[in-house]
């Protein structure tokens, strides 16, 4: 358990301090949303109609940013070998990495998104649903992302490859997340979409953790 907490602690510290860490991913998230009015025009109705999907797309893209530093530096400097040698099961080590990535990406986006809601004219009562949907969905993005980062850890400068592997698998969360926010904005009950989002998220966390552990074992021969 101490090892588990140590991995989380270390990864969070690295995520906050390293360049390209948590702050950059939050800034990127905000920047994507700021770009929208320039691309789609500042019409309040257009922005309001597109806001649920745009928030979720921005979340998908900005969680990609930190993924390259989740596994690859550890594989290069030998930390991964130490993690493999430790008595902690690799599944738990993978889970620790996923949690650490989520604390430095998904959690920040969850807190940040409601504050940015007025930028895209998202209606007031939809903002809590947006935060809730991000809270439910972003752990899955971290789980899938970490698994794919572990798979691609031997690819040099694998950022683009990583994006190609991660984004298709993240589409369900985009669909359910955005539709939850959209139905809340339309004055409907977002419960069904949130339940589906939560279910998909739970599945992804289990599959992602197991896949990440299997991927971390690859170099172990």
């Amino acid at each position: 358990m101490r090892t588990f907490a140590a991995i989380i602690w270390r990864d969070v510290i690295l995520g906050i301090r390293a360049s390209g860490g948590a702050a950059l991913s939050a800034a990127f998230f905000a920047l994507i949303l700021v770009l929208v009015p320039f691309g789609l025009g500042p019409g309040p109705d257009t922005l309001q109609a597109t806001a649920p999907g745009l928030f979720w797309m921005a979340a998908l893209l900005s969680t990609l940013l930190g993924l390259e530093r989740v596994v690859q530096p550890d594989a290069e400097d030998g930390t991964l070998d130490l993690i493999r040698l430790s008595p902690l099961p690799l599944e738990l080590a993978a889970l620790a990495k996923i949690i650490a990535h989520w604390l430095t990406s998904g959690l920040i986006l969850t807190l940040l998104a409601p504050l940015l809601a007025p930028l895209l004219n998202l209606s007031f009562h939809a903002a809590p649903v947006l935060a809730l949907s991000l809270l439910l969905g972003t752990p899955a993005l971290s789980a899938i992302g970490t698994a794919m980062a572990a798979l691609g850890s031997s690819v040099q400068r694998g950022g683009m490859v990583l994006a190609l592997l991660v984004l298709p698998l993240n589409i369900p969360f985009l669909i359910f997340g955005a539709s939850a926010v959209a139905s809340a904005q339309a004055g409907e009950d977002p419960g069904q979409a949130l339940l589906l989002l939560g279910a998909a998220s739970l599945i992804a966390m289990v599959v992602g953790t197991i896949a990440a552990a299997a991927a971390l074992r690859i170099g172990d021969e």
Binding site: A147, L151, G152, V155, G158, L164, L165, L169, A211, A214
Partner: protein
């Protein structure tokens, strides 16, 4: 015979060489029969008229898009569990074939959608999930080519193929779970096919032809892959050239 008998790549390459002309020949003959039957002999649809004849190209391609991914996932599982040396080769060789079948299903679907639905593309569940399948194939191919060392690439690709297999049931049941523009299943149903037999027969012939074509191309690609690996070991000096 067990799965280990052909674990020897040379032995398998020999088998593939023997079976290749038969599978390819049979595939071409069946495709010719299916095409003539489907396009000229089978009756036109009472609703869709002559345009529905594209079904004989579209539906088998869509079947194969899913079937090839299933083969990839199963052989990845075999590679993962038993470390069978040919399972990775089969999965890797299947990916580009599956990607082409998926692209064919998407393109013929668009050509069919235009006269029937009045649009080339709609974001409905079936179309979207097949498009995701296409990107999964692309990601799988890219992962193979991005990791230089084959053994490492193989182990990473197995995991990706297995994770991506989650999409298969979603594609299959998308037309039942959601109200989609795409029509529901009419051949592989619990209560038997709902298609008229004079249309179903050429469709199944085409399906068989596509399947045999896949097997033939798979044999070709697996032989090429085995030869390439052999070349690699020779280049690395691990095996003498004349053996």
């Amino acid at each position: 015979m067990n799965i280990w008998y052909y674990a020897n790549p040379e032995r398998f390459a020999g088998l593939a060489r023997t079976l290749l002309p038969w599978t390819l020949g049979l595939a071409l003959i069946l495709a010719a029969i299916g095409t003539v039957w489907g396009l000229l002999i089978a009756p036109p649809d009472y609703q869709q008229g002559e345009a529905m004849r594209i079904i004989y190209v579209h539906v088998p391609a869509a079947w194969m898009a899913m079937f090839v991914y299933a083969v990839m996932a199963v052989s990845s599982a075999i590679a993962f569990i038993w470390n069978h040396p040919l399972a990775d080769v089969a999965a890797k060789a299947s990916a580009p074939i599956g990607a082409v079948f998926t692209a064919l299903a998407l393109v013929t679907g668009m050509l069919w959608g235009e006269p029937m639905w009045g649009t080339w593309w709609v974001w409905d569940a079936r179309l979207t999930s097949v498009l995701i399948l296409f990107f999964l194939y692309i990601g799988y191919i890219v992962l193979w080519s991005a990791i230089e060392e084959p053994a490492r690439a193989a182990r990473a690709a197995r995991i990706l193929a297995l994770v991506g297999a989650v999409n298969l049931p979603i594609i299959k049941f998308s037309v039942d779970w959601w109200n989609t523009l795409h029509q529901p299943a009419s051949v592989f149903r619990m209560d038997g096919p709902t298609m008229a037999p004079e249309m179903l027969t050429p469709l199944l012939i085409m399906g068989l032809a596509y399947n045999l074509l896949y097997v033939a191309i798979l044999f070709m690609r697996m032989r090429a892959e085995i030869a390439e690996r052999r070349l690699r070991t020779i280049r690395l000096g691990l095996e003498p050239a004349a053996s």
